[in-house]
């Protein structure tokens, strides 16, 4: 099987990461922002797999294992925070939340 060139994988990864950054900065819905963060984590995972493939090493795969577990924990805690935020304010628009704003 032909190996996919590392450069193409990194370009795909950078595209996905930039779309995630755009999602975080442009959208105002807290859950959509959260999904964009997951997208950025995935872009990083993709570049990890790319380097692991081209270096012929398993350490990158181990890193992805840990990244995915941390992402799962982060999603659980973040979504419960969003849930309790929605209960107190009845909205998810992050422009309405300025409790910690200086």
């Amino acid at each position: 099987m032909m190996q996919i060139p590392l450069g193409h994988i990194l370009v795909l990864s950078s595209l996905l990461f930039s779309i995630g950054v755009l999602g975080v900065l442009l959208r105002r819905n807290a859950i959509v922002i959260f999904m964009s963060i997951e997208l950025m984590l995935n872009a990083v995972n993709l570049s990890f797999v790319g380097f692991a493939q081209s270096m012929n090493s398993l350490n990158g795969v181990m890193f992805i294992f840990f990244i995915i577990v941390v992402a799962a924990a982060e999603a659980v805690v973040g979504l419960s925070i969003i849930l309790s935020l929605y209960r107190s304010r009845r909205t998810l628009n992050i422009d309405e939340f300025n409790l910690l704003r200086w």
Partner: protein
């Protein structure tokens, strides 16, 4: 090789769906599609373990969690404030494009294949689940235990944070 570009295109389209679809549920479904096509890309990169984890944990567990929360909240569309164009938003686009341009510039100037040390393939299967398991319980034993603790803390934290406080109870 053509399949790689097809699935790469699909994953980018799914990501753009998250960015541009008004309804968060549609965005979540398009993100699921993006994760699935990324799993296909992983299969083509001979990283089957990562592909399986991607489908099980990301497209399965995490996205189901997102959809459950969306269902609990019964959201409406974001309405007229969907993407309000303002100076800040234009700045956001400039920042995101700047990040992408920097990454592309670095990739264009250096051949990434030349940067990684060339390790001669020993001929054996690299991404075998057996090897991953061995690494997990020898070299990566401490992070493995730490991450199990992290999951426990996350579960307890999620329950405590999301617990509904009834008006009568004292807490």
């Amino acid at each position: 090789m053509i399949l790689f570009y097809l699935f790469a295109l699909l994953s980018v389209l799914g990501a753009l769906g998250v960015l541009f679809l008004r309804n968060p549920i549609q965005g979540a479904m398009s993100l699921v599609g993006s994760f699935f096509s990324l799993a296909a890309v992983y299969v083509m990169m001979q990283a089957e373990f990562v592909a399986v984890i991607q489908v099980l944990v990301y497209a399965g567990a995490i996205m189901v969690l997102f959809l459950f929360v969306l269902m609990l909240l019964s959201l409406r569309d974001e309405g007229p404030s969907f993407i309000r164009w303002s100076v800040g938003k234009v700045l956001a686009v400039v920042i995101a494009f700047g990040i992408w341009a920097q990454l592309a510039l670095v990739l264009g100037q250096h051949d990434p294949e030349a940067l990684v040390p060339q390790i001669v393939s020993s001929g054996e299967e690299v991404d075998s689940i057996k090897l991953i398991g061995q690494l997990l319980f020898t070299e990566y034993l401490l992070p493995f235990e730490a991450i199990s603790l992290l999951l426990l803390v996350a579960v307890i934290g999620a329950v405590v944070i999301a617990k509904r406080r009834y008006p009568g109870s004292s807490s």
